[in-house]
Amino acid sequence: MVRSLGAEVVEVRLPEHLDGLDALIIPGGESTTIGRLAGLYGLLEPMAEVIESGLPVLGTCAGMIVLATGTTEGDQAQLGVLDVVVRRNAFGRQVDSYEAPIPVSGWDEPITGVFIRAPWIAKAGDDVEILATVDDELSGDARPVFVRQRNVIATAFHPELTDDARVHEMLLSMAAAAKEL
């Protein structure tokens, strides 16, 4: 996705891979596995440091969980750089996974939200800008699924599974702006 936008891509598996990045993406996957392996190979602290020092970062689905300060279930290795509490597998199991057009604040066209065993945000801090929500069928509450806090953007859905590059463009323009400073 970002390659098609003209960016160069490196995979980050070890702390030294963080050197020289202009932006970071924490993709979908299994957050327990990502958190465990990142912890084991000493990636969590260096990642939190570069993000706190302003590196633009996008987390999708599991990536959002890894960025958050907490989960409603607790007990998960997290970076704590996005002031939200996340509920994992909030929509249910795979048979409840779905896609739907999601209106985004400030955008003319909705984005196709592909929610796969997706989380939602149960609680967001005051600094967190909420860009999109979906309605919780049980309580009727609006649950944030796309947020931004300074240099951190996070989605509960998977823009990388669609042809819509707007979320990734947002990250790259943040990276371009950060470079000019």
Binding site: E30, T32, T33, R36, L37, Q94, V95, A100, R117, D135
Partner: protein, 298 residues
């Protein structure tokens, strides 16, 4: 939801879950305790089945889907996705597994086939399916039936990686050949592969399968897992290799780490120290052809 239409069980949603498992290890488990060990070790998903392939091979008899009680316990025990095996062509086992909340169904040659002619119509389900394949034609036939993920068949329950290697190399080479052919050659290639023409055309133009392709069937060591990753698969299934070994928790962790750092020989060497006894291996030529699981469901 909002007023806008939402859709479940689309191709994108089904194939997308497999995309999220890429680079990871999926482990066969028989009990909730084994599922917890697998999750703790860093598995991206667990596969629920009645008996691991090595035991099916040893004890014989008809192998079926797992007891729904066990499946339910496993679903409750872990937060990672739970897959479960159904017999080839046994669409009612698949219906039951979907109802139990399983996240992916493996229509698997490891179990005794229920239909020797037909696979399950996987388009009819909301839950996604993974199927085994030995070559590109098989993979595309399964995708044509609605599979959202493919794995090599290998030869399950042997601890011998040779068949998984053969199948992965076969698929890679057939895909490469397709990309070199002209449009006018694709129909006869589809005939030779016995594969749906549209899918043949798609692979010829993209140079890859339209779904994620994992390796399975005989992977027993961290180096086996890294070998399959270097050969170009997207992730690893380990069946008997973990819970038939001397120290399952340690071996499970080592296989996960070797899969993540598959091109880093230092890392693979480091995680391969002191793993205890691997599962006992079986040479393929000692298995009578009629007992080879890979010959089922072609």
């Amino acid at each position: 939801m909002t007023d806008t239409p939402s859709t479940h069980g689309t191709d994108r949603v089904k194939r997308g879950l497999a995309e999220m498992l890429k680079g990871g290890v999926i482990m066969d488990v028989v009990t909730a305790d084994q599922a917890r060990i697998a999750e703790e070790a860093g598995a991206v998903a667990v596969m629920s089945l009645e008996r691991v392939p090595a035991d099916i091979r040893a004890t014989g008899g008809v192998a079926r889907m797992a007891d729904p009680q066990k499946v339910t316990e496993i679903v409750a025990a872990v937060s990672i996705p739970v897959m479960a095996k159904a017999r080839i062509g046994h669409f009612v086992e698949a219906q039951v597994l979907q109802t139990l909340g399983v996240d992916y169904i493996d229509e698997s040659e490891v179990l005794t086939p229920a239909d020797e002619e037909h696979h399950i119509d996987k388009w009819a389900f909301t839950v996604p399916f993974v199927c085994g394949a030995r070559d590109l034609g098989e993979a595309l036939r399964r995708i044509g039936e609605g599979a959202a993920m493919i794995r090599t068949k290998g030869e399950p329950g042997t601890g011998n990686v040779v068949e998984a290697v053969r199948h992965m190399r076969q698929m890679t080479s057939e895909i490469r050949t397709l990309t070199t052919l002209g449009d006018d050659e694709l129909m006869s290639q589809a005939r030779d592969l016995r594969a749906p023409f549209d899918l043949v055309k798609e692979v010829a133009s993209t140079g890859r399968l339209p779904v994620v392709n994992f390796a399975a069937g005989g992977i027993a060591t961290p180096a086996d897992a890294a070998l399959m990753m270097q050969l170009g698969c997207d992730g690893i299934f380990v069946g008997s290799g973990i819970f038939k070994s001397g120290d399952p928790a340690v071996r499970a962790r080592a296989i996960v780490e070797a899969t993540t750092h598959y091109s880093d020989a230092d890392a693979i060497a480091k995680v391969s120290h002191d793993l205890g006894e691997p599962m006992v291996g079986i040479n393929i030529d000692t298995i009578p052809p009629e007992e080879r699981m890979q010959e089922r469901g072609l």
